[in-house]
Symmetry: C2
Subunit: 405 residues, 2 copies
């Protein structure tokens, strides 16, 4: 019987702890697994031997429920980039020394693209040195941009929060009898999934968002102004625009570059932010409309007060399935969702080779984008099932209660 | 039997329609009142004779429930400033001609400080010309800055949303093992009530917000840096700062003036915004910490997906009480909350003379502010009862359903 380690990495989501709960509770129940270690701050916690015993965290059913609805990474996260395998620095040796010391036979890493790079490297290193371990990636990202999976845990909840917020902002903006443009900036880096999901705000009472711009279409200032002018000419006074933080011009320049600080993170990704502000100023200066930029910011990835029950449950299940896969002998895999049907919504969990996933980026297909400023019915049918249901939260003094280590 | 008009004015809130529902449903049931007109876009709707019959809106109990939980001003709003009474422009004559034409004996205006100015002027003009009408203000503002009332409808829901969001942002920010400062910018103009309410985020699992800066205390850059350095020296790595949009230096300059556009609204109020961004840059440049500014923006006033049931119910009741007051002969009054006790929370509705309210501004008492960067237990005891309870929402396709005219 071997022990296991579970870690979390990358940006937090509202359901990353549901996956942690899925992994940890399944591992605690599995007779092939001994101690279930939680690595504090992801792979950095492994390097530093900073572990907590998950058995002490999940003592009761109530602990599990609380962890499932707690936002952000309970174990802490990191953005630590492992060196290249050929670069043979100390990291790999150190990590596997720790694995040996703690008798680790299973390693679960919950994260996005960069974290899957870690899973890929560790499993290749294990093979290289002949260390017997099962290494499994558990997907996580609000951006929904992981390869080889129908969608990612965290996306549904963020989509629900964003669509609701855009519907509410639509009503809020519509109270004055004047021309206004409200630009809502949505996360997703180079993938437009989350911004596209704002389309769900629309119903017979709500026309917002009136315009949707994704990074998958080249942005053009003149087209943007014309889109607004056309709507205004049709009598739409208060126009709500959903834009991805990562929209770009045809030459590849980010729109937010007009304002941004040029900061990059440890993986070299540009810090995208300020797109709404840039567009707000452009609208005011060029069209003379009242304009307001709203950056939903991290609220969209941590709003556990308003999540999708489908997302929470799936996030839990994909974690638990990762344990089953590892114990069955799988390694160098990421667990993934495969959609069986849309109506009724049916999904199954499968495993995929990590090498086809690490560092890839799955973007919105061109045929789901309409006129460069909207999305098609296919997109609506795709996202709709992922936002259904609302979990029951525990409240204390009027606020939801969350777990913290 | 006379008819009545109800209108909404100023910035929307999540519960302004609960007050509209309170006024309209009480008026529809009242045997002294005939037709209940809703003025579209507030006093501008009266000037333009743009009315809807509220009997057509509130046909069923379900309509009422839906209106109560719909954000923003269902009737539309305005920021139209009436001229001075002595200025004797056409507005007053025109408004009272409309009142005569539609046989109006009761006028209800739901709004904040500026709207109470309208109530004040109209009731004084009525007295001056001897027109028999009962004019009642119904309070509304997330800012909680109206005089002569314990608190205002809209405040409790915004406070609940803000406290929850700050708790969630606190968890989100705490995942990385590095020094960071997250600045959350909160509405309230020159009053710090909403920012102070963020203190409710704290519990045994959550230390955020670590610092709270209100407009009622002079802001000082050096003190701010020292406050952060002191916390950091005590081992607090990820510091959450709650700041009011309207914080100022001792010389009266707004902090956001370092970034702002200098725009003013029709009432001449400065558009306060950008405070978080200014502080974010200051922290990065001066302390070298990772810094992030989050402007909660209009989300805090329109988030009907997450409101306080106490607030919704009180907002409804204060509207209904306005009708009772008017029919009983009251005029030139604003309905107000008077707190009877904190534990258990008991509140009663009273009426107050409008002349003591219009254009006033009720700010946080100095004795509820602690060390210029926190609030006292009195503040906590004051806000806590106002955020309790969660209304049941109607959902369709995974999202809350809202009413629209």
């Amino acid at each position: 019987m071997k022990n296991c380690i579970v870690g979390q990495s990358g940006g937090p989501t509202a359901v990353i702890n549901a996956s942690l709960c899925g992994v940890a509770s399944a591992a605690l129940k599995n007779e092939n697994i001994g101690t279930v270690y939680g690595a504090v701050n992801g792979i950095v916690g492994v390097l530093n031997e900073n572990f907590i015993d998950m058995a002490n965290i999940l003592k009761t059913k109530e602990d599990e429920e609380l962890l499932k609805t707690t936002p952000a990474s309970f174990l802490g996260s990191c953005r630590y980039k492992l060196p290249k395998l050929d670069d043979e620095k100390d990291d790999f040796k150190k990590i596997f020394d720790v694995f040996t010391k703690y008798d680790i036979g299973y390693f679960f890493y919950i994260g996005g693209n960069d974290s899957m790079d870690t899973v890929d490297k560790l499993s290749r290193y294990a093979e290289k040195i002949g260390y017997d371990i099962n290494i499994i990636g558990v997907p996580k990202t609000v951006d929904n941009d992981l390869m080889e999976t129908d969608h990612t845990p965290g996306f549904g909840s963020a989509a629900k929060y964003i669509a609701t917020t855009v519907r509410e902002v639509g009503l809020d903006s519509d109270v004055y009898d004047l021309n206004s443009v409200t630009i809502v900036e949505i996360m997703g880096r180079n993938a437009g999934w989350l911004t596209a999901a704002s389309v769900l705000a629309r119903n017979e009472k709500c026309a917002a968002p009136h315009l949707i711009y994704l990074p998958e279409s080249d942005f053009d200032d003149e087209k943007f102004f014309n889109d607004i002018k056309e709507l205004n000419a049709k009598g739409v006074k208060n126009i709500i625009v959903a834009v991805s933080e990562g929209i770009r011009y045809a030459d590849g320049t980010y729109v937010c570059d007009k304002a941004s600080s040029g900061l990059v993170d440890t993986f070299g990704h540009k810090c995208l932010s300020g797109t709404a502000k840039v567009l707000e100023n452009m609208v005011r200066d060029n069209l003379g409309f009242k304009a307001r930029g709203i950056e939903i910011n991290v609220l969209q990835r941590c709003a556990s007060h308003f999540t999708s029950l489908v997302d929470i449950n799936e996030a839990f299940e994909v974690g638990a399935a990762g344990v089953a896969e590892a114990v069955a002998g799988g390694t160098g895999k990421m667990m993934a969702y495969e959609r069986v049907s849309n109506k009724p919504y049916k999904m199954q969990i499968v495993s995929r080779d990590i090498k086809n996933i690490a560092n890839g980026e799955r973007v919105v297909p061109q045929e789901w984008i309409s006129n460069g400023n909207d999305v098609t019915q296919e997109m609506i049918d795709y996202v709709q099932p992922l936002i259904e249901g609302t979990p029951t939260l525990k409240y204390e003094n009027g606020l939801p209660v969350y777990l913290k280590r």
